[in-house]
Amino acid sequence: MQSAIPMEYFLVLSAILFTIGCIGVIARRNIIVILMSLELILNAVNINFVTFSYYLNNMTGRVFSLFTMAVAAAEVAIGLAIAVNLVRVRKTMEIDEIDTLKW
């Protein structure tokens, strides 16, 4: 046994973080907070990958989480760029007030 901590602990933690991220996206109205919640989701996944990598004695998961981070960075950059433009144009940060496109 490599570690005293059972693998399930990490998985449950990541599940909780993932859910919190989801709740953040659904529940909050502020664009910035929603983008942050998305980061939470991606981090939860990272925990999963690293956990499995560790417990499976396998490098792949770690590499994967590294790429996830990089992608997350690019995503956030774009997300914030769009958000800034949007707030500039729409004069609001509440995403649910931005609903021209519907039905």
Binding site: Q2, S3, A4, I5, M7, E8, Y9, F10, L11, V12, L13, A15, L17, T19, I20, C22, I23, G24, I26, A27, R28, R29, I32, V33, M36, S37, E39, L40, N43, I47, V50, T51, S53, Y54, Y55, L56, N57, M59, R62, V63, L66, F67, A70, V71, A72, A73, A74, E75, V76, A77, I78, L80, A81, A83, V84, N85, V87, M93, E94, D96
Partner: protein, 174 residues
């Protein structure tokens, strides 16, 4: 045992700060909470013998991503936003469903059925040693996973171009 305790500490902090991220009215507070959360996750990575990732976590997230957020928060007029209602009306539906999802996730996490380490025990050593772990990561990254690595560079380039075309003031074409 100690590791377990540490785990619970980090986990508790991570969860509570994550909750704070989504509950704070002021986005600046959220950003700070998120930084805390990422730190905890970095620590957890250490527990999982992934020092390079822990570092990367801090560099990338805390160092880069969070700076974006901070800039964004300061660029934007958060005052007016803070005066408004914090939660969307979907929260009342979303939270129960998300919790249901959480229940599913936890049940599955506890179900197990994951592959076990015995298969690759020969190389087990490299994971215990933090330094070796990093080295192994590097080797794999530049050999086996060279392709995704290359693609990531393009992704980041695209991200850069995107950020430029979306935010930079359009050059005057005369």
């Amino acid at each position: 045992m100690i590791e377990t305790l540490f785990f619970f500490l980090f986990a508790a902090l991570a969860i509570s700060s994550a909750i704070m991220v989504i509950t704070m009215r002021n986005p600046v507070h959220s950003v700070v909470s998120l930084i805390v959360c990422f730190f905890q996750i970095a620590c957890l990575f250490l527990l999982l013998r992934a020092p390079f990732l822990a570092g990367a976590q801090i560099f990338v997230y805390v160092g880069a991503i969070m700076i974006f957020f901070v800039f964004a928060v300061f660029l934007l007029d958060i005052k007016s936003s803070m005066a408004k209602q914090k939660f969307s009306k979907w929260a009342s539906y979303g939270i129960p469903v998300s919790l249901l999802f959480l229940v599913e996730l936890i049940m599955l996490a506890l179900k197990g059925g994951f592959g076990n380490a015995a298969d690759s025990s020969a190389s087990a050593g490299q994971f215990l040693d933090m330094a070796k772990s990093t080295e192994a990561l590097g080797t794999v990254l530049f050999t086996k996973y060279l392709l995704p690595f290359e693609i990531i560079s393009v992704v980041l380039l695209v991200g850069f171009v995107g950020a430029v075309v979306l935010t930079v003031k359009a050059p005057k074409e005369d």
